[in-house]
Symmetry: D2
Subunit: 240 residues, 4 copies
């Protein structure tokens, strides 16, 4: 049987790295997109030589030729696409403006959606595809005091186009994962500021998720393990 291809957008994030490791151990061909933190991907590559990395800036809202670039950069037939891009700017509602909102939106929603538009065609022709867009539990609350741009763009990303019902007939499944507070670099930084303790109190399960833990749900929804769930949004958020 031919090896399957997975594309992990935002692959150098803490969750992305865990997702990549599992797919590599499952013997998939892994393509990891990144913008920053290349080092983390290079560390994985030491063990798994086959890992391919792709650098691309998702937040460039002025690049109206972006689709051409996307087609060039992401030119394989991917069986699975996982979107973990998470551009954050810590801008709340009162400080937002057109420029910053366009940047967040383009990175977190528009570029991933346009890329999926391109990639879904090959999935449909091969009658197999899994797409997972990773959103944030913050969407449930309309974002926090410093995360309007982020949560707004993740809310936008959660829109599943009606045409997904046609895709289902050809075994192309698309879902959203609302990820709760996770023990990543970003939150480690919060830790230093002593804020994270207060945030954890709001999580019924009373602890952050581990990146590995989240990765495991991602795998379930984006491999052969998922054959009948599409068009859904699942919250992995410790009871929030």
């Amino acid at each position: 049987m031919k090896k399957k291809n997975v594309l992990v957008l935002g692959g150098s994030s803490d969750i992305g790295i865990e997702v990549i490791k599992i797919f590599l151990s499952l013997n998939w061909n892994v393509y990891a997109h990144y913008l920053k933190n290349k080092k983390k991907l290079e560390d994985v590559k030491k063990k798994y030589k086959s890992l391919k990395v792709i650098k691309f800036n998702f937040s460039n809202y002025k690049n109206l030729k972006i689709e051409k670039n996307l087609k060039t950069k992401f030119n394989k037939r991917y069986d699975t696409v996982i979107n973990l891009v998470g551009y954050t700017d810590n801008i709340g509602f009162e400080k937002t403006n057109l420029k910053s909102i366009l940047k967040s939106l383009t990175a977190n929603a528009l570029t991933p959606i346009l890329l999926q538009k391109i990639l879904v065609k090959k999935m449909l022709s091969k009658k197999w595809g899994r797409i997972l867009n990773c959103s944030s539990i913050g969407v449930k609350y309309g974002g926090g005091i410093n995360s309007f741009n982020y949560s707004f763009s993740k809310h936008c990303l959660e829109f599943i186009p009606g045409i997904h019902k046609q895709w289902a007939k050809k075994n192309v499944l698309i879902n959203n994962l609302r990820i709760g507070v996770t023990n990543t670099k970003i939150h480690k930084r919060m830790k230093r500021k002593n804020k994270i303790k207060d945030r954890i109190k709001l999580i019924p399960i009373n602890r952050m998720a581990e990146p590995k833990e989240i990765a495991s749900y991602i795998i379930t929804l984006t491999t052969e393990k998922n054959s009948y769930v599409t068009g859904q949004t699942l919250s992995v958020s410790g009871g929030e």
Copy 2:
């Protein structure tokens, strides 16, 4: 008692005209925004001299100074803001691209949101405000075959920022109205194409809404009649 001010964005639409007429008959100061169809507003003005009109293009995603322009154009203290802007381009998922999606988004979601950001401050200081964003029942279905851009942008608009809970304390209430198929110019055009009959079959109530009918729900949610509903999305869609 001082007269209240209402700003109707997309005021020259069929529903907008009905909303404006009711507010005028209720003796509010009415500010009607429009881009096209000025004639319709002028017709109303014949009867109600006090109607003010404001022309502004909401879809200009390249104007990064838009907030400055918004502040200049919409420089009153409005008690109520109703967003009926509905930029449509008939572009489905398979035909979408960055340019068209940015245009729809900016018109239907970003500019209204940025304007509301500006206007809410005066509402808060006066401890009274009503904001209503009008979305579409199409959002429920992920948009139709030719309305991805439209439905996506209306989905984005439905995001209610978490800070609205702070606004509530100061009697500033914000809600969404998901409007069903309405007997407007747009649908009249569909009628000619004989498509509208099929669409109506999908509406349990078996008829389109009349613009006046929708206007009545809008009034209920944006005047003193609404004193306790905020952060909600109501579908006025004949059972869809």
Copy 3:
């Protein structure tokens, strides 16, 4: 034009009394159901002689002939039915048992549903009907520490049967209203216990609703004012 008939279940509740007064002032024939607090209804009757009252116990889950009794007691053709029955027993999840859960369920959900099944037929034949089931914001949270039975039964009540789409064709509309914390007798009692202050802190709008205020939303959804909303659940809850 012939006067319309409204049936208010739980009519002697604080909200019920306000609803009744408005319908009487609108010149409807009002039928008020009650189990306790007859005195309040009698007070209204002093001013409005035409008010009819009907006593019926909704919580009798052992009465398998209940439909026969319902048909006898509620034998008019009602244009509008509003269900405000709210049987409370202060039983939380850990203390619940089959007996108490059956009692709550029968009062708050099963009897109203069975009665509506009977009454909807006449509405359909006359091609006009409005049904409103009043639920509680507590449903959103899965009930509080002492209100599992209550919130569970209100959750059950919120089920709108699929057949409502057929009803819509004949202008029979059904909706739910999720009511927030209201300044009623029950909460006045809490006040004495100093608990209500803490509860109010959880309401973004920072105060309880007044019964009159809630009544006004009920009127909007159950008279000619509502002609296009059906199958919906609206929260009137101050931003909760």
Copy 4:
């Protein structure tokens, strides 16, 4: 490490049998509840001698001592409880009555909930527990023409008590699974009536789920694989 115990309610259903087989292969102690179709469980027992079976009638709404009986019959400490009880009576809204509705409700919602109330205590004391209530995609539509009682009772079952947030702190997680049309005995019967073809057309994925397929999602949510999802409802329904 000590073997874990799983209780499968409705264990002799087609999906139940698949769930049981997987848990047995994972080396759990399996307790299978049934009312009918004992033969199917006996067939499994031929291979896996360790399987325990428990007969109990869940639909007896007159047995107000049911909790005593439940405590006697289900007297182990179960780590996982999966509720697949599905009492069906083919009664639509227009034919329902108090007796039949009480029977459906008691079987599909009340008895499972009361049993979970009993069993959760031991889970909490051991700081590990997984509860999954299996509902039906029909709930989304308010039930079909002949399934009001069934869908209503499954809707009731979907109520997750607010106290589940306390349970999360002690690693006791509870979720709902909305199961789509599955290739079980019930639907095989429909097949003979040629109805099933029409039903399948409504499923975007264009086929029924297989019992094994559903079982796999159940395992994911009720074993160690699930460590961070609680209070959620997931639809496994082929895009419906």
